[in-house]
């Protein structure tokens, strides 16, 4: 049993995990950096403990500081949230060595799925189709060029240790590839401490569709359907929805069932997400597993009624899943909007400052996941995510209609946010048709979206 959890994260996810703990009767201690002393999670916590300076490497990324904080504050488990130490198998191992429960997959499971290239091979063996790519990691430039010749251009260069679309680059020719390799290596080394790269065929006009799985320690698991995260800006998700508007029901079921089957067979455990690219013909290709809770998990919660964070905690404590696939029922349509502190017109430049006023929206099917409050100062050290607006409706049309109302109501004053951009996306005919790919925003350009709406308002 888990009685007291150390939350080793910040922002909206720290608040989200804290709420899950409370609803389960578990005490929550929030570990925070000096810059997050007045964050909402800290103010809400049963206890808060400062683990280091603003710099993540010495606070949220310091395994020793996090584990020491858990020990001195009497916790018996650590929830790593997403990012930071969430998929670090060495950290999970260290956590266990100190008799603490790591809320996530075990160290062995994290290690098995740590390499993206390795995971691709592993799941291909379990029958999942994968995007054509390099055999294992690239040894050197020569190897890269030979593999590229075999796979064919255009190609995506990906860091094996990466995540969240960071450090990826597109190469259309051998020359571009050669130039990009050096940059990619140094970027990957800086961002992830590991410069191993692999290549993947770049499929034009694909959608990003992912399947949520929940698996206990004893090999019983379910899928909770798919999420469509195709509205992206330079590989960063901005709007997510479930179910995917682009695949038919037969494909939907086949995709989800093959995902859970392969994840079980490959030995995946706890909560996770299998990401796929889906092309225009409905063919899907596995790309990677995210061995953590994801930013966009709430849309799946809205459809299923399952508290995925609570499941994560329960299963990490060793409880059996206790239900089968037939118990998972998905209803309606949900959309998530990532609210970022950024100036969309200035190339999405992150913004810092004080939130003068924050007024959340309400109404049927409307949910806010955020750490904002009026007077909150957005620190400059971390990512620009201020929160997520999640809207549910019985179908896509009603979810869109409710989203328009909610986005009009949502007020974040004092700094630039992408709320107007979200409003504009909801007026875009391509988005509304559901027939878009991951390049929708980049092809058209953010300014065009915003101009389209302001033009309409003036007319």
């Amino acid at each position: 049993m888990i009685g007291r959890v150390l939350i080793a994260n910040r922002g909206e996810i720290a608040v989200r995990v804290l709420r899950a703990c409370r609803s389960m009767g578990i005490e929550a201690v929030v570990a925070h950096s000096e810059a997050d002393r007045e964050s909402r999670a800290v103010l809400m916590a049963d206890e808060a403990i400062c683990i280091g300076p603003a710099e993540s490497a010495r606070s949220y990324l310091s395994a020793a500081a996090v584990i020491s904080a858990a020990l001195v504050s009497g916790c018996d488990a650590i929830h790593p949230g997403y990012g930071f130490l969430s998929e670090d198998d060495a950290f999970a191992e260290m956590t266990r060595a100190h008799d603490l429960v790591f809320i996530g997959p075990s160290a062995e499971v994290l290690e098995r799925f740590a390499s993206k290239a390795g995971t691709r091979q592993l799941l291909a063996q379990q029958g999942l189709p994968v995007v054509p790519g390099s055999e294992g990691m690239l040894r050197d430039d020569e190897h890269a060029l030979a593999e590229a010749e075999r796979i064919g251009y255009p190609l995506l260069i990906k860091p094996s240790a990466g995540g969240g679309g960071k450090g990826m680059r597109l190469a259309r020719t051998a020359r571009e590839l050669q130039q990009a390799l050096t940059v990619c290596r140094s970027e990957a080394r800086a961002a992830f401490g590991d410069d191993s790269l692999y290549l993947e065929k770049w499929l034009e006009r694909t959608r990003h569709v992912e399947v949520q799985v929940i698996i206990d320690n004893y090999g019983h698991g379910v899928h909770v359907g798919e999420r469509d995260c195709s509205v992206q800006r330079r590989h960063q998700k901005i709007v997510e929805e479930a179910p995917s508007p682009a695949i038919d029901d037969a494909t939907r079921i086949e995709l989800a069932e093959s995902a859970i089957r392969a994840a079980l067979a490959a030995g995946y455990r706890n909560v996770g997400t299998l990401e796929f690219l889906v092309d225009g013909e409905g063919r899907y290709f596995f790309i990677e597993i995210n061995a953590r809770i994801q930013v966009e998990h709430p849309i799946t919660e809205m459809l299923s009624g399952i508290d995925i964070v609570a499941e994560q905690i329960r299963l990490a404590a060793g409880e059996p899943l206790g239900y089968g696939q037939e118990a998972v029922r998905l209803r309606g349509h949900a959309i998530e909007f990532r609210i970022n502190a950024e100036d969309v017109r200035a190339d999405f430049r992150p913004q810092v400052g004080t939130v003068e006023h924050y007024v959340p929206p309400g109404g049927a099917g409307v949910r806010m996941e955020t750490h904002l409050y009026s007077g909150y100062e957005v620190p400059p050290y971390y990512d620009s995510l201020l929160g997520k607006l999640i809207v549910w409706g019985p179908n896509r049309e009603s979810a869109v209609a409710r989203s328009r109302v909610a986005l009009k109501e949502l007020l974040v004053d004092g700094l630039e946010t992408n709320i107007p951009f979200h409003r504009a996306i909801l007026e875009d005919p391509t988005f509304l048709s559901g027939g878009f790919d991951t390049n929708l925003l980049d092809r058209k350009g953010a300014a065009a979206f915003l101009d389209a709406v302001s033009g309409a308002a003036e007319a």
Partner: protein, 189 residues
């Protein structure tokens, strides 16, 4: 919680069983209040056989004024105050050095103790030279990063000048006594 809590008065005191109430109210509580105020913690809880005390304060009210304060007019002054505080370099268990005693003279860089982080000792050093005016953590105590462990009076004079954030709060919200009082129970021993 309001001003009272901000000044370090107990927001919530729970005594499980009757103990020597005089000792609790006259010695233990003032010492704990001083410690809470000196720290950046929102809450501390102390248990002993038969009793348990929990002190809590509202960091929003306790800290806001100090930030603006140190930010503008009294910048240099608060820098001095900052400098006289010896803060924990990590989160872990504190072990004082033998020389960490009120009234002892130290020079900048002296080792005042260590914080044990998973078995590895992180040294606590004096940021300035002077006379130790307060010791705010004891052997084996769990401390967080940045927590004030000791105060050094750089001039070797009036105790209380080298107070911390809590004192700054006092100065911003109400005149001096709140600030000067903090280290006294420790220093008087």
């Amino acid at each position: 919680m309001t001003e009272e809590a901000a000044r370090g008065a107990p927001g919530n005191v729970a005594v499980d069983r009757a103990v020597d109430l005089d000792a609790l109210t006259d010695e233990i509580l003032p010492a704990l209040i001083a410690r809470l105020r000196a720290s950046r913690l929102a809450e501390i809880e102390v248990r002993d056989s038969g009793w348990r005390v929990r002190l809590r304060r509202d960091l929003r009210t306790a800290r806001r004024p100090s930030r603006g304060h140190s930010g503008d007019t009294h910048g240099p002054e608060s820098d001095d105050q900052e400098a006289s505080q010896t803060r924990s370099p990590a989160v872990g268990y504190f072990s004082p050095a033998p020389g960490l005693v009120v009234g002892h003279a130290v020079t900048a860089g002296d080792t005042l103790g260590s914080v044990d982080v998973l078995g590895i000792a992180q040294e606590v050093t004096a940021p300035v030279g002077g006379i130790i005016s307060a010791v705010l953590a004891e052997i084996g105590q769990a401390v967080e990063y940045g927590q004030v462990l000791a105060e050094i009076d750089p001039l070797g004079g009036e105790p209380g000048n080298g107070d911390d954030g809590a004192a700054v709060d006092g100065a911003a919200q109400a005149p001096a006594p709140g600030g000067a009082a903090a280290p006294t129970p420790e220093a008087a021993r």
